[in-house]
Amino acid sequence: MIDVLYFAWVRERIGIPKERIETDATTVAGLVEELRAREERYALAFADTTALRVALDQELSHFDAPIKGVREVAFFPPMTGG
Protein backbone atom coordinates (compact mmCIF):
# COMPACT_ATOMS: atom_id res chain seq x y z
CA MET A 1 0.00 0.00 0.00
CA ILE A 2 1.24 3.42 -0.94
CA ASP A 3 -0.21 6.91 -0.43
CA VAL A 4 -0.50 8.89 -3.65
CA LEU A 5 -1.00 12.67 -3.44
CA TYR A 6 -1.98 15.10 -6.19
CA PHE A 7 -1.54 18.86 -6.21
CA ALA A 8 -2.69 21.83 -8.29
CA TRP A 9 -4.12 20.91 -11.72
CA VAL A 10 -3.14 17.26 -11.29
CA ARG A 11 -5.43 17.16 -8.26
CA GLU A 12 -8.17 18.95 -10.19
CA ARG A 13 -7.98 16.60 -13.18
CA ILE A 14 -7.98 13.44 -11.07
CA GLY A 15 -10.62 14.91 -8.79
CA ILE A 16 -9.15 13.88 -5.43
CA PRO A 17 -6.20 15.16 -3.37
CA LYS A 18 -5.06 11.79 -2.09
CA GLU A 19 -5.66 8.05 -2.32
CA ARG A 20 -4.16 4.88 -0.94
CA ILE A 21 -3.48 2.28 -3.58
CA GLU A 22 -2.09 -1.21 -4.00
CA THR A 23 0.61 -1.44 -6.67
CA ASP A 24 2.96 -3.95 -8.22
CA ALA A 25 5.06 -1.23 -9.81
CA THR A 26 8.73 -1.01 -8.85
CA THR A 27 9.41 2.49 -10.20
CA VAL A 28 7.54 5.79 -10.40
CA ALA A 29 7.17 5.28 -14.16
CA GLY A 30 5.60 1.86 -13.53
CA LEU A 31 3.17 3.39 -11.06
CA VAL A 32 2.25 6.07 -13.60
CA GLU A 33 1.53 3.33 -16.20
CA GLU A 34 -0.84 1.61 -13.76
CA LEU A 35 -2.61 4.88 -12.96
CA ARG A 36 -2.99 5.80 -16.65
CA ALA A 37 -4.66 2.44 -17.30
CA ARG A 38 -7.28 3.03 -14.63
CA GLU A 39 -9.55 5.73 -16.05
CA GLU A 40 -9.50 8.52 -18.56
CA ARG A 41 -9.07 11.27 -15.94
CA TYR A 42 -5.77 9.58 -14.91
CA ALA A 43 -4.72 9.13 -18.53
CA LEU A 44 -5.34 12.85 -19.05
CA ALA A 45 -3.52 13.95 -15.91
CA PHE A 46 -0.49 11.80 -16.77
CA ALA A 47 -0.56 12.37 -20.54
CA ASP A 48 2.76 14.25 -20.51
CA THR A 49 5.03 13.43 -17.60
CA THR A 50 7.59 16.02 -18.73
CA ALA A 51 5.03 18.56 -17.48
CA LEU A 52 4.99 16.87 -14.07
CA ARG A 53 7.22 16.62 -11.02
CA VAL A 54 7.29 13.83 -8.45
CA ALA A 55 8.27 13.66 -4.79
CA LEU A 56 8.97 10.44 -2.87
CA ASP A 57 8.44 10.69 0.87
CA GLN A 58 8.51 14.50 0.59
CA GLU A 59 11.76 14.65 -1.39
CA LEU A 60 11.88 15.73 -5.05
CA SER A 61 12.74 12.71 -7.18
CA HIS A 62 12.36 11.54 -10.79
CA PHE A 63 10.24 9.13 -12.80
CA ASP A 64 12.93 6.44 -13.07
CA ALA A 65 13.31 6.22 -9.28
CA PRO A 66 12.46 2.93 -7.51
CA ILE A 67 9.52 3.08 -5.11
CA LYS A 68 10.35 0.07 -2.94
CA GLY A 69 9.89 1.09 0.70
CA VAL A 70 8.38 4.46 -0.26
CA ARG A 71 5.29 5.36 1.75
CA GLU A 72 4.14 8.52 -0.03
CA VAL A 73 4.34 9.54 -3.70
CA ALA A 74 3.21 13.01 -4.76
CA PHE A 75 2.55 14.22 -8.32
CA PHE A 76 2.31 17.90 -9.23
CA PRO A 77 3.10 20.47 -11.92
CA PRO A 78 6.32 22.54 -11.80
CA MET A 79 6.27 24.61 -8.65
CA THR A 80 5.46 28.32 -8.63
CA GLY A 81 6.35 29.61 -5.17
CA GLY A 82 7.86 32.90 -4.05
Binding site: A55, Q58, M79, T80, G81
Partner: protein, 153 residues
Protein backbone atom coordinates in the same frame (compact mmCIF):
# COMPACT_ATOMS: atom_id res chain seq x y z
CA UNK B 1 20.12 30.73 12.74
CA UNK B 2 17.21 29.83 10.54
CA UNK B 3 13.52 30.57 11.00
CA UNK B 4 10.78 29.21 8.72
CA UNK B 5 7.14 30.26 8.95
CA UNK B 6 4.41 28.79 6.73
CA UNK B 7 0.97 30.14 7.47
CA UNK B 8 -2.36 31.13 6.02
CA UNK B 9 -2.65 34.35 8.05
CA UNK B 10 -1.06 37.65 6.96
CA UNK B 11 2.32 38.52 8.49
CA UNK B 12 3.51 41.88 9.77
CA UNK B 13 6.30 42.75 7.33
CA UNK B 14 7.36 45.93 9.14
CA UNK B 15 7.66 44.18 12.49
CA UNK B 16 9.43 41.16 11.00
CA UNK B 17 11.89 43.36 9.12
CA UNK B 18 12.51 45.47 12.22
CA UNK B 19 13.14 42.53 14.53
CA UNK B 20 15.16 40.46 12.09
CA UNK B 21 18.78 40.04 13.20
CA UNK B 22 18.33 42.94 15.61
CA UNK B 23 20.07 41.10 18.45
CA UNK B 24 23.28 40.34 16.51
CA UNK B 25 26.14 42.82 16.85
CA UNK B 26 28.23 41.23 14.08
CA UNK B 27 25.70 41.95 11.32
CA UNK B 28 26.73 44.61 8.80
CA UNK B 29 24.18 43.98 6.03
CA UNK B 30 20.53 42.92 5.93
CA UNK B 31 18.57 42.20 2.75
CA UNK B 32 14.84 41.55 2.59
CA UNK B 33 12.71 40.47 -0.34
CA UNK B 34 8.92 40.64 -0.33
CA UNK B 35 6.60 39.19 -2.95
CA UNK B 36 3.26 40.92 -3.43
CA UNK B 37 0.08 39.86 -5.25
CA UNK B 38 0.00 42.35 -8.08
CA UNK B 39 -2.75 43.50 -10.38
CA UNK B 40 -1.95 42.26 -13.84
CA UNK B 41 -1.85 44.76 -16.72
CA UNK B 42 -5.34 45.58 -17.73
CA UNK B 43 -6.81 42.73 -15.75
CA UNK B 44 -8.99 42.81 -12.73
CA UNK B 45 -7.11 40.42 -10.46
CA UNK B 46 -9.32 39.62 -7.56
CA UNK B 47 -7.30 36.94 -5.81
CA UNK B 48 -4.34 34.60 -5.76
CA UNK B 49 -4.84 31.11 -4.38
CA UNK B 50 -1.76 29.32 -3.11
CA UNK B 51 -1.72 25.58 -2.58
CA UNK B 52 1.16 23.79 -0.90
CA UNK B 53 2.31 20.34 0.23
CA UNK B 54 2.24 20.70 4.00
CA UNK B 55 4.39 17.75 5.05
CA UNK B 56 7.08 18.68 2.52
CA UNK B 57 7.11 22.50 2.66
CA UNK B 58 8.74 23.21 6.01
CA UNK B 59 11.40 20.52 5.55
CA UNK B 60 12.28 21.76 2.08
CA UNK B 61 12.49 25.39 3.20
CA UNK B 62 14.50 24.60 6.31
CA UNK B 63 17.03 22.68 4.28
CA UNK B 64 17.49 25.37 1.67
CA UNK B 65 17.76 28.11 4.30
CA UNK B 66 20.42 26.03 6.05
CA UNK B 67 22.25 25.54 2.76
CA UNK B 68 22.22 29.30 2.11
CA UNK B 69 23.37 30.00 5.67
CA UNK B 70 26.33 27.65 5.30
CA UNK B 71 27.30 28.83 1.84
CA UNK B 72 27.26 32.57 2.61
CA UNK B 73 28.02 32.54 6.35
CA UNK B 74 24.68 34.09 7.17
CA UNK B 75 24.22 35.33 10.71
CA UNK B 76 20.44 35.09 10.42
CA UNK B 77 17.98 33.81 7.83
CA UNK B 78 14.17 34.01 7.70
CA UNK B 79 11.57 32.70 5.25
CA UNK B 80 7.86 33.44 5.68
CA UNK B 81 5.44 32.06 3.06
CA UNK B 82 1.67 32.25 3.07
CA UNK B 83 -0.82 29.85 1.51
CA UNK B 84 -4.57 30.00 0.93
CA UNK B 85 -6.43 32.85 -0.72
CA UNK B 86 -4.82 36.30 -0.99
CA UNK B 87 -6.09 39.56 -2.46
CA UNK B 88 -4.25 41.94 -4.79
CA UNK B 89 -1.77 44.04 -2.81
CA UNK B 90 -1.28 41.42 -0.09
CA UNK B 91 2.22 40.22 0.73
CA UNK B 92 2.70 36.59 -0.26
CA UNK B 93 6.05 35.91 1.30
CA UNK B 94 9.34 37.38 2.49
CA UNK B 95 12.91 36.28 2.90
CA UNK B 96 15.51 38.08 5.00
CA UNK B 97 19.25 37.47 5.15
CA UNK B 98 21.86 38.96 7.48
CA UNK B 99 25.63 38.82 6.92
CA UNK B 100 28.79 40.71 7.71
CA UNK B 101 28.94 42.21 4.21
CA UNK B 102 26.46 43.13 1.50
CA UNK B 103 27.56 40.77 -1.27
CA UNK B 104 26.75 37.69 0.85
CA UNK B 105 23.40 39.04 2.05
CA UNK B 106 22.31 39.89 -1.53
CA UNK B 107 23.50 36.61 -3.07
CA UNK B 108 21.82 34.50 -0.38
CA UNK B 109 18.51 36.34 -0.73
CA UNK B 110 18.55 35.93 -4.53
CA UNK B 111 19.44 32.25 -4.21
CA UNK B 112 16.57 31.68 -1.77
CA UNK B 113 14.13 33.42 -4.13
CA UNK B 114 15.32 31.44 -7.14
CA UNK B 115 14.88 28.28 -5.13
CA UNK B 116 11.43 29.20 -3.81
CA UNK B 117 10.19 30.08 -7.31
CA UNK B 118 10.79 26.65 -8.77
CA UNK B 119 11.75 24.14 -6.10
CA UNK B 120 9.54 24.82 -3.09
CA UNK B 121 6.20 22.94 -3.16
CA UNK B 122 3.82 25.88 -3.74
CA UNK B 123 1.40 26.33 -6.64
CA UNK B 124 -0.32 29.59 -7.50
CA UNK B 125 -3.71 29.99 -9.11
CA UNK B 126 -4.80 33.43 -10.33
CA UNK B 127 -8.44 34.43 -10.12
CA UNK B 128 -8.91 37.37 -12.48
CA UNK B 129 -11.88 38.74 -14.39
CA UNK B 130 -14.04 35.84 -13.29
CA UNK B 131 -11.66 33.13 -14.56
CA UNK B 132 -9.13 31.06 -12.65
CA UNK B 133 -5.90 29.69 -14.06
CA UNK B 134 -2.81 28.01 -12.65
CA UNK B 135 0.31 30.11 -12.95
CA UNK B 136 2.74 28.45 -15.36
CA UNK B 137 6.33 27.95 -14.27
CA UNK B 138 8.65 30.19 -16.28
CA UNK B 139 11.68 28.94 -18.16
CA UNK B 140 13.58 31.96 -16.88
CA UNK B 141 13.08 30.73 -13.31
CA UNK B 142 14.78 27.44 -14.19
CA UNK B 143 17.59 29.44 -15.81
CA UNK B 144 17.90 31.57 -12.71
CA UNK B 145 18.45 28.50 -10.56
CA UNK B 146 21.19 27.21 -12.84
CA UNK B 147 23.55 30.07 -11.98
CA UNK B 148 23.95 28.69 -8.44
CA UNK B 149 25.13 25.27 -9.55
CA UNK B 150 28.80 24.52 -9.02
CA UNK B 151 30.70 24.94 -12.25
CA UNK B 152 32.40 21.80 -13.58
CA UNK B 153 36.18 21.96 -13.18
Amino acid sequence: MVRIVIQEAPFDFGAEADQFAASRSDVGAVVTFTGVVRNLDGEDLTAMEIEHYPSMTERALTRIAQEASDKWDLLDCLIIHRHGRLSAGERIMMVATAAAHRAAAFAAAEFLMDYLKSRAPFWKKEHASGAAKWVRAKDEDEEALRRWQPKPD
